[in-house]
Symmetry: D2
Subunit: 136 residues, 4 copies
Amino acid sequence: MITSRSTIQVRYAETDMMGVVYHGNYLAWFEVGRTQLLRECGVVYRELESNGFRLPVIEVGCKYLRPALYDDHITVVTTLAERPLSRIRLAYEVFRGDTLLVTGFTVHGFINLQGAPVRPPAIFREAMRAHFGTDA
Amino acid sequence: MITSRSTIQVRYAETDMMGVVYHGNYLAWFEVGRTQLLRECGVVYRELESNGFRLPVIEVGCKYLRPALYDDHITVVTTLAERPLSRIRLAYEVFRGDTLLVTGFTVHGFINLQGAPVRPPAIFREAMRAHFGTDA
Amino acid sequence: MITSRSTIQVRYAETDMMGVVYHGNYLAWFEVGRTQLLRECGVVYRELESNGFRLPVIEVGCKYLRPALYDDHITVVTTLAERPLSRIRLAYEVFRGDTLLVTGFTVHGFINLQGAPVRPPAIFREAMRAHFGTDA
Amino acid sequence: MITSRSTIQVRYAETDMMGVVYHGNYLAWFEVGRTQLLRECGVVYRELESNGFRLPVIEVGCKYLRPALYDDHITVVTTLAERPLSRIRLAYEVFRGDTLLVTGFTVHGFINLQGAPVRPPAIFREAMRAHFGTDA
């Protein structure tokens, strides 16, 4: 299991007239979280794209328990629980201090620049092997 | 079952560097869809808020089959399949022409201005009764 | 002078906790307006990009007179006052009914895919000639 | 003169299909910059709103020199050059390392919850006096 923590301070632009963070904006925070998790594994997503790989979101789910507010200091805890095969599933927990606000997940698959599914790039496979053990 | 159709033309602002619509932006399109569905039922969401009710998103799920592109004409088909009780569940299908791009759902519950769960407002209950039949 | 009208219905996602449209979101509405103006001139911006041209924003200005609100029906009036040379300057007026809410302008220049300034594409030059008269 | 520095890492959500940050998103970065400047002066904008004051944007201007890219580390330098009277004017410079990408300004005025212009709150006037000297 790989876990990473990212911190975010809520922008006014991210709120809506309900006085809280617009529910759609958490997806961008998940993106911040997984970019950070990958970086901590030695995988810089920007470089993956430069090398012709893309990792789009195939599925997302999100449960909203309590709202985040403007100027809050938020922590996104991102978890890769299992060694990914063709699909990569990440889980997210969004906290303000010790208070859990939102949980969610995303599922991803690597594609090439033409949009066709491809095997994960070598750097990614090696990073996963380093964390989860040898290929079985 | 209540179904509504909304049309959207994709903005440049909604794309990302993958050359497609950013996955988080579909949630705003779902919002367009459900506002339209409610309006067609005689329920203007803006007026609900003026009357002290709010209908936040409690849960969302989304599956991305094919990407929407800049300048595409998009149709969001929003469906309320069952008469809502305390929770309201809406389903969404996002199309470009006949091609299904994205499916999703949202779950909502009414709250008051203090954030406490409340019974749906009378106008909403009446609209649901008109479409789904009498209270059982 | 070329003028075009676009209509927009304000999304909840576009509001902020001040209860009005977030000031940054008007820039996306300006984009809707100029895409429409170009289309009415026979220039489809998406096709320009497909042909290797890009028309980034070089400068923007915006004055906020009155706020737009959720669910408002908004009209963006976009004007190309003068025949563009190397720089293209567009003006915008954002209305709710007869009430002027926001004014603004953008300045643009054509670049190629490498980011170097280029002469406008032929289709654009012809469209401008058709509206503003012959090359002097 | 008061100057403040804020750092931002560019999110994928902030890019567009031109492969760079969408021009409208810099306005949210300016917002991050001025929130930080105010905080460093001892003025927490969130508390101003809690106390019934709002500080909307009345005018904005922005010049785009070079694009910011995904994952860039960006610095926003925010400057309050003169002691504000009824209007507050802030200037912004957006850098990647030593490279200036964007310059801009915003103009603001305090209003109350009903939207009427009001004198700045005491805490703000005191902070300005502390930085710019006594009332003349």
